[in-house]
Symmetry: C2
């Protein structure tokens, strides 16, 4: 199955990359842009028969490796 | 409106970050994981009345700033 893990900084944690992108977009004339957040998406194939168990495994991957849960939150998609 | 731009390396472009994540997941015992790709997601609020025109603007942002279209592809979501 195809798995996606979206990782974003938690609200309240300063997103310097997002701020830089926002500034650049404003400089290019897109003044209507705000609240820019830059996150990471990890996509992969996961060889697993049981979807519910696979989701639990992917949650464990996110907690152990893919996200730093002190400052980042994550969302899992399995298709 | 809420906009999301997903940016990924094009197929065929070596994704070193993806390879590193894949190796680490294998080392942690998840041998069923393959084809790991790591991408970027830029989320923002965009103040625009017309959804179709907003999409065209966001495409322009992606081409000019958010993605390096020589090696990256992008996908836009507007909600």
């Amino acid at each position: 199955m195809k798995a996606k893990v979206h990782v974003f900084l938690k609200p309240g944690v300063l997103d310097v990359e997002g701020k830089a992108v926002e500034g650049a977009l404003h400089d290019l004339g897109w003044s209507g842009v705000g609240h820019v957040r830059v996150g990471k998406t990890i996509e992969f194939d996961f060889d697993h028969a049981d979807k519910a168990k696979a989701e639990a495994e992917i949650k464990s991957m996110a907690e152990r490796l893919l996200a730093n849960t002190v400052i980042e939150s994550y969302r899992i998609e399995v298709a």
